[in-house]
Symmetry: C2
Subunit: 149 residues, 2 copies
């Protein structure tokens, strides 16, 4: 990794209108990453990136995240084969989030449950209670066999 | 606000496959909210919600967030008129993020800079430096006049 990021300006206007990408990492050194499919815009997942994951993603064109549960860099799809090739990377007005438009390899799935998207359930209110309903139950791979090793 | 949320299960399978919506709020009591336009899937913004914002959103059908900078509930568009009506609400596998598909009122803009989306810039690497380039500079409203008061 050779790419580094300058510290963000305290000036809101510089963040919103300047020419430098100066991500505003949070107290844990992370920015939010929103991942959509470049083919149709489907939201696939939300993850986090530290400076190293962001630099690796920009330099290699393959999405890398930071796994908070495992506390390490996570090359998405390294085990399942579902690598994400980045077609476009964007950032938002205050530079604390990034948007990756990707092409998904392998099984065309980004959720560890085998589904295309992690957002496979709708939220509803029924009788004063918040429930979830499955909107997409199509499994592109069997997690038990893919993650067995 | 009458809707409350049960504490999330420690069992991963229950979170992923159960029928209850039990959002996993972080240490600050927040979940990540990804907001897209239901018309074409364009990513409009990323924000955060606490339990109150989430309950208000579900109960009223109008997007409410939690403003970290102002430390209070934020009814999106209350000042600008760009209210977001929620067409569909989804959650992800581990229930720490929600996805709102919305119809935007007013100026059809969700960014405080007047643009349709907060993600109006692409990130690129040039000569070993990370830069941003404007991808969308169409202002739907003039922030100086809309937020003047």
């Amino acid at each position: 990794m050779t790419l580094t990021f300058a510290a963000p300006s305290a000036d809101k206007h510089a963040l919103e209108a300047g020419g430098d990408f100066t991500p505003r990492f949070d107290a844990h050194g992370l920015v939010t990453a929103v991942v959509t499919d470049v083919r149709d815009g489907e939201l696939l997942m939300v993850a986090h990136m530290n400076a190293e994951a962001l630099a690796l993603t920009i330099e290699t064109g393959i999405a890398h995240y930071y796994s908070r549960s495992r506390a390490k860099i996570w090359k998405k799809g390294e085990t399942s084969g579902n690598l994400q090739t980045v077609a476009e990377l964007r950032t938002d007005c205050d530079q604390d989030a990034v948007w990756l438009k990707v092409r998904v390899g392998g099984h065309d799935a980004s959720c560890h449950t085998g589904r295309r998207s992690c957002f496979y359930r709708t939220v509803k209110e029924t009788d004063g209670k918040a429930i979830v309903e499955i909107a997409d139950d199509d499994r592109h791979f069997d997690p038990d066999s893919v993650y067995a090793s």
